[in-house]
């Protein structure tokens, strides 16, 4: 369940957030939406793919965290077992909402901070306070605000990246069929990736278009990240009986 409301420093003056990454604490998901600005950190730990946005029809990059729904293989006994946590996980239980405002005579959607009051990390007793004694933003909230801002900008970049890749027909769907060491098998559907052959056959013009927006780098990082798929399978195997 989620209960998203606009965060305010009166109604929520006593709220605290306990960022304990463990099972049952709101992080049991098998993929996290990710953004080009963090690809360089992500590609050292996670396999990166695309999924199709069901509303907009565009493709959004994700980090694969597990093989079945709610399986997050990075949730260990001592917290998040990786050197870098995706921004869309870090931001929780906060999220971006929008308010309509007239900005210099132009109707504008202004991003504002919302909170999921039902997120297990939220309480009045444990963790970092959201607000200072007189309603100012706590250092934690200030850090989260800048993360939310990066995510907001990242959504726009993701749309651009998706448009370019679709335009150049570089995206192909992919089905992962994985055999684990105990003999069990798992199929993961709904993932998309870069078509290597088409990418290798890109014209100079196509390369130029991608390079101009810095997206060649994004593609190389995503391709490099695929080596982490074996490491993710290994994580799963470690949990299985020998």
């Amino acid at each position: 369940m989620t209960r998203h409301v606009l965060l305010d420093n009166v109604t929520h003056k006593n709220l605290r957030v306990d960022k304990a990454y463990r099972k049952g604490a709101g992080y049991d998901v098998n993929l996290a939406r990710v953004f080009p600005v963090e690809f360089v950190h992500l590609q050292r730990e996670y396999p990166l793919f695309f999924v199709k946005n069901t509303e907009g029809g565009h493709f959004e990059p994700i980090a694969l965290l597990g093989f079945s729904e709610a399986e997050n293989l990075f949730l260990g006994d001592d917290g998040w077992d990786a050197g870098y946590v995706p921004l869309s996980i870090q931001r929780q239980p906060l999220l971006i909402g929008f308010q309509e405002r007239l900005d210099d005579g132009v109707p504008t959607q202004v991003p504002v901070v919302h909170i999921d009051l039902d997120h297990p990390s939220v309480s009045e007793t444990e963790g970092e306070p959201l607000f200072l004694a007189h309603g100012g933003e706590s250092p934690w909230l200030e850090r989260m605000s800048s993360i939310l801002k990066a995510i907001h900008e990242g959504h726009e970049l993701n749309q651009t990246l998706s448009q370019l890749l679709v335009g150049l027909e570089l995206i192909e769907s992919l089905v992962l069929e994985i055999a684990f060491k105990d003999g069990s098998k798992q199929t993961v559907k709904g993932l998309y990736t870069i078509n290597e052959e088409k990418f290798a056959g890109l014209s100079a013009n196509g390369l130029e278009v991608l390079h101009r927006g810095g997206h060649l780098r994004d593609i190389f990082l995503m391709q490099a990240s695929l080596a982490n798929l074996d490491r993710l399978i290994e994580r799963k195997n470690r949990l299985l009986p020998a």
Binding site: E100, D104, V106
Partner: protein, 337 residues
């Protein structure tokens, strides 16, 4: 009928090309009859409402607009409901063609619902219209807005910006009060306003003088003018203005600008800060701070810091762009507690 005692001064022979400079030397409001008579939009409005609508839609590219709609019982007064519980209108996101259709559909109703699209950026709403239907803004960096509605009344409010308002269609009555009439206007909440600015709670056309006795004094200082298509009005910054659209179809285009450095923020923010940190001080301290504000802000001049070496004057010296940045950072840090 207006209860205002005075007429707004009229000034003659103003050249539209230099209207901004002309009014810069005027301390008071001024009507400029026929200033924009030759705008194509004004010409169309003299033909018919239908022609005017068609002309506008030629420029419209579908940008979403915000509009106020209210039930007929409100009589067009953009205001609060009883006890100021909420506003008496609904704000909707719509399209300009819908706004024009609604106004046209109810044009001959005795009691039409209120339709009011206010303060929309002209370049955003009607790209290209400005080329022949706005004053040359020159170096003023003026923002140009368009207001379209049927019969409406907007209670007296002030703007920080200088304003030249040009009636393009319909008729508009402006009732102006000098800034020093603040205490006689019974101004409503400053943090819950009908449309962004605090408004006088007095119904100017039917003032309850038992409840609002000092409003009689405000009326002594009120200046009124009725504008027709092509007429323009200069409303100086901080003058309270009560605005009535008098026909079933009214269009206004206005120009807003400020003759102050860009780095200066909104004076109302400073007022709010003073309410937070000064208003509730013990009386002797508040008195003392009044003196400080007079000394450092209101009576500031070359003498204020003359005794301090120029290189050490800091914020007491000339406040340029860089100095303003430092002040902003300091304030932001200190406010976060």
């Amino acid at each position: 009928m207006s209860r205002a005692k005075l007429k707004i001064k009229e000034i003659q022979d103003v050249d539209p090309a230099s209207a901004f400079e002309r009014v810069a030397s005027e301390p008071d409001p001024a009507v400029m009859r026929g200033l924009v008579s030759d705008w194509p939009l004004v010409q169309k409005a003299r033909e018919s409402a239908a022609e005017t609508g068609r002309y506008l839609l030629d420029f419209y590219q579908g940008a979403p607009v915000t509009a106020f709609v209210a039930r007929p019982e409100t009589g067009g007064r953009i205001f609060y409901s009883d006890q100021l519980a909420e506003t008496n209108f609904e704000q909707i996101k719509t399209r300009l063609d819908w706004v024009l259709d609604q106004i046209s559909e109810h044009a001959s109703d005795d009691a039409p619902p209120t339709i009011y699209m206010g303060s929309m950026a002209l370049d955003y709403c009607l790209p290209g219209l400005r080329d022949r239907n706005a004053l040359p803004t020159g170096e003023s960096r003026a923002t140009v807005r368009i207001w379209i509605g049927n019969r409406t009344t907007v209670a007296a409010h002030y703007d920080v910006l200088e304003n030249i308002a040009c009636v393009c269609a319909g008729r508009r009555r402006f009732t102006l009060f000098p800034p020093d009439q603040l205490s006689n206007l019974y101004v409503g909440p400053i943090d819950f306003t009908p449309a962004g600015q605090a408004v006088s709670l007095v119904d100017i056309n039917d003032p309850d003088l038992e409840r609002y006795p000092r409003f009689a004094e405000a009326l002594e200082h009120a200046q009124v003018a009725e504008l027709e298509p092509g007429d323009a009005l200069y409303i100086p910054s901080m003058w309270w203005h009560h605005v009535e659209g008098l026909e079933s179809f009214n269009i206004l285009i206005n120009h807003w600008w400020r003759n102050v450095p860009k780095h200066m923020g909104a004076p109302a923010d400073a007022l709010l800060h003073a309410i937070l940190d000064i208003r509730d001080l013990p009386e002797p301290q508040r008195r003392a701070w009044k003196g400080f504000f007079d000394y450092y802000v209101f009576d500031y001049g070359p003498e204020t810091a003359a005794h301090i070496p120029e290189s050490r004057r800091g914020v007491l010296g000339e406040l340029d762009e860089d100095a303003a940045r430092k002040v902003r950072a300091t304030l932001r840090n200190k406010l976060n507690r």
